[in-house]
């Protein structure tokens, strides 16, 4: 098992190095061979590890000592338990499918080798992230997956919006990581260790305020990485990246890292009711907030992006109300069906030659059948249609919230279920049904994607359909609950109870609400196609707000970025006023020669520096006088 655990991340790393260095010259359009092969082996090994874990075998393995400085000690090592196993399952499966899919999708791109190298690097980092056995290692690969994500978002960088989106993702994530790193530092300082097992063993000994502070700071990191309000702004822009990337990184794996991290830290969070409440509140708010925005977006990938944000919000709500297993269940199910949906959207975009605007789609149902049906299955799962994986996982969250006494979260979540079903089928109907709204010439060229792209769609739709039946029945004591029970044993607050009348009726309610959303979408977009426009006009301001994503980006610009810019310019004028003079004069005196040599010195620059030093001394003395008074 040790060999398997070691090889799972190392194979993609080796492939990254080889493809990255030799791809451009030697592999070229065969760059995917090594890439796909390495991930395929990693997938097989992940399956093996999963089975081993299911048989009760876990692994905690110290590889070597990273920092051994006095009382501070950080090891590099692996921890494989049930939680890790689930993550490995999602990451390797979706990863493999996306790799295969990309062979078709990226075919002919001039950065073909680069794409596979980056995506291999991502697989390595993501595997390491879930395998890490301490917070510092987690943080390192937390940053590394982020890095790969920026690289891949900006993959088509000659497009200005792509490189800007990469930059934005990086900067927004810095804000979250800022909190995350402080949280880790706080753990380091209070407990003197970052090892999961020792931290969780000592979780009870940290004071109440401190544990809340730690949890909230950790959660800040999760808010950034998992695109929760108010740091969600980077994810929609990240859709500038190639669609397989959106599927792998921005739907199925990396964005789940925040959920994974909070779930992993469950023993810490269990000690802070406040932090849990904050997690639940942010999650719930994000869920409905993003769902509202998703209702009115017209870009097919943007709808899915906001949907991802909203679904991640669900998971955080589940974590916050203590339904840990439900969160992981939803993570698993969502990983499959959202990965599938993105790949399908990629197939649609591919078929239309790059068109992403749903207003210019329609009527594709007959032309691209495989894509349509797999997309349909994914959308049903997303809407929580009874029997599919999304239904069971979503229901687990809803009943967790309700039985935990958080009926207010439950209501909001239920509304979100309705909205989700509505926008999912709005997407389906606008894209595949009704009349084609694109040029006849484009429509004539629409063609199904090659098998290398459709096969992953079919493969991914299998767990989308059956995962819930296998894992989620009976609700609340299904297979997944038993599987994860050991991991969350310390953190589960509500006693387990059997599936009964209450749970059954909750399930029925959410099923009805979900189907209601689908029906309403049908009514709006197929039966009475004039209704959407009329409603938008009615909704007026709310519609404008949602269409503009509630102006969050604009608010950030007005509140943070512009003032910072203005401030640093101001500082520049005050402190470094000589620079402009210097630059302007600079050109002059270089041309005019030695006669002007001393001029910059005499125009006050050096005197300025000396005067600043002088004032500095004076200021320090004054500071001291003030402090002692």
């Amino acid at each position: 098992m040790k060999a398997a655990v070691l090889l799972i991340p190392l194979l993609p790393l080796a492939s990254f190095i080889i493809t990255g260095f030799f791809g451009r010259r030697y592999f070229k359009d065969k760059s995917h061979y090594l890439s796909v092969a390495s991930v395929a082996i990693s997938w097989i090994l992940s399956m093996y590890v999963f089975i081993q874990v299911e048989r009760g075998q876990t692994l905690s393995w110290q590889l070597y000592t990273w920092i051994a400085a006095g009382k501070f000690h950080v090891d590099i090592g692996f921890l494989v338990d049930e939680l890790t196993a689930i993550m490995l399952l999602v990451v390797s499966t979706v990863g493999l499918m996306v790799h295969i899919y990309s062979i078709g999708y990226m075919h002919g791109d001039k950065g073909y080798y680069r794409f596979f190298a980056y995506i291999n690097l991502f697989m390595f980092s993501m595997f390491m992230l879930v395998l890490a056995n301490n917070y510092l290692l987690l943080y390192v690969f937390w940053e590394a997956v982020g890095l790969c994500s920026y690289l891949l978002i900006a993959f088509w960088f000659p497009k200005l919006s792509a490189s800007n989106a990469g930059m934005k993702a990086f900067l927004v994530n810095r804000v979250g990581d800022f909190g995350f790193s402080l949280g880790i530092m706080l753990i380091f300082v209070t407990l003197g260790t970052l090892d999961y097992s020792s931290v969780f063993a000592a979780a009870g000994t940290i004071g109440g305020g401190m544990v809340t502070a730690i949890c909230l700071l950790l959660f800040t990191g999760a808010v950034g990485k998992s695109a929760q309000f108010p740091l969600h702004v980077w994810l929609p822009d990240a859709m500038e990246g190639p669609t397989p990337v959106s599927s792998l990184i921005h739907a199925a794996t990396m964005v789940n890292a925040g959920v994974y991290m909070v779930a992993r830290s469950s023993p810490l969070f269990a000690h802070s009711h406040t932090a849990m409440l904050v997690v639940a509140a942010i999650g719930t708010f994000t869920a409905i907030f993003a769902a509202i925005i998703a209702l009115v977006q017209n870009d097919i990938k943007k709808v899915l992006a906001y949907s991802t944000i909203s679904q991640l919000g669900y998971m955080f709500m589940a974590l916050g109300v203590g339904a840990w297993t439900a969160a992981m269940f939803h993570l698993l199910a969502h990983g499959f069906f959202k990965g599938l949906l993105f790949l399908c959207s990629g197939s649609v975009i591919h078929a239309l030659g790059g068109e992403q605007d749903m207003r210019k789609m329609g009527g594709l149902r007959k032309k691209i059948k495989i894509t349509y049906w797999t997309f349909f299955i994914g959308a049903l799962a997303l809407s929580g249609f009874p029997g599919l994986s999304g239904f069971f996982s979503k229901d687990a969250i809803l009943s967790g919230a309700f039985s935990g006494g958080y009926w207010y979260f439950w209501i909001v979540a239920l509304i979100t279920v309705f909205l989700t079903a509505f926008y999912s089928f709005r997407l389906i109907f606008m894209t595949f049904h009704s009349e084609p709204r694109m040029d006849a010439k484009v429509f004539a060229h629409v063609h199904e994607s090659p098998p290398v792209m459709t096969a992953p769609l079919i493969v991914l739709s299998v767990p989308t359909v059956v995962a819930g039946l296998f894992l989620g029945i009976p609700p609340e004591s299904g297979h997944i609950d038993h599987f994860l029970h050991r991991v969350f044993a310390a953190a589960i607050v509500t006693p387990e109870h059997q599936f009964g009348f209450l749970s059954g009726s909750l399930m029925a309610i959410s099923a009805v609400v979900g189907i209601g959303g689908i029906l309403l979408a049908w009514h709006f977009y197929l039966r009475c196609p004039f209704l959407p426009a009329a409603t938008c006009k009615r909704a007026g301001r709310l519609y404008t707000l949602a269409l503009n994503k509630f102006y969050v980006d604009e608010i950030y610009f007005a509140v943070f970025i512009n003032p910072l810019r203005r401030f640093s310019r101001w500082l520049w004028r005050i402190v470094d006023a000589g620079v402009i003079d210097g630059a302007v004069n600079g050109a002059g005196w270089l041309a005019l020669g030695a006669g002007r040599l001393l001029r910059p010195i005499q125009t006050g620059k050096v005197q300025g520096y000396l005067f600043a030093m002088f004032l500095g001394l004076l200021a320090l003395m004054v500071v001291y006088i003030i402090l002692t008074l």
Partner: protein, 165 residues
């Protein structure tokens, strides 16, 4: 209070005048002469502190050698005065009160200070100085030769003509 104390303060105050003049003069030659006066004043300060050897070397090195060098340098270069009057720079309006404030702070604190080294005055005689220099401070004394070496190298580097041209 030692009888030389008032003389010390008087001489020290007088030294400030040529120092200010040196910075304020427009003509470089006048500045240089003010500088020489300032050096002589510093030598006088050393005398009031019973540091005769320092006073003598101050006169020999600074007044005798360095000042003459600087005067030569000024005369050999064509321009005799700075392009802009340095003293009434626009910054001086801010610098004056700031300087005054710093002087007040330093004056108040140092004026009332008790210096333990001053309570047991060391004898700054030549013999004592020599013994300190060659015993306790032998290492920095030798190290100073490297500073001089660097200074010479620097002078050569900056002033000498390119060897191949």
């Amino acid at each position: 209070m030692h009888f030389s104390t008032p003389i010390f303060y008087l001489v020290s105050a007088l030294v400030i005048i040529p120092a200010v003049l040196m910075v304020a003069m427009r003509n470089l030659i006048y500045s240089a002469i003010a500088m020489i006066a300032c050096f002589i004043g510093v030598a006088a300060v050393f005398v009031t502190l019973n540091a005769e050897l320092l006073a003598a070397s101050q006169l020999l090195i600074y007044v005798g050698a360095i000042s003459i060098l600087i005067l030569f340098a000024i005369m050999l270069t064509r321009r005799r005065s700075g392009a802009i009057c340095l003293f009434f720079h626009r910054q001086s309006w801010a610098a004056l009160p700031a300087g005054a404030a710093l002087a007040v702070v330093l004056g108040i604190v140092l004026g009332s200070a008790r210096f333990s080294a001053g309570s047991a005055p060391k004898n700054p005689s030549t013999a004592n100085l020599a013994s300190l220099l060659f015993n306790q401070y032998a290492f920095p004394f030798e190290l100073a030769s490297l500073v001089l070496l660097v200074a010479i190298v620097g002078a050569v580097l900056l002033a000498m003509r390119e060897r191949r041209s």
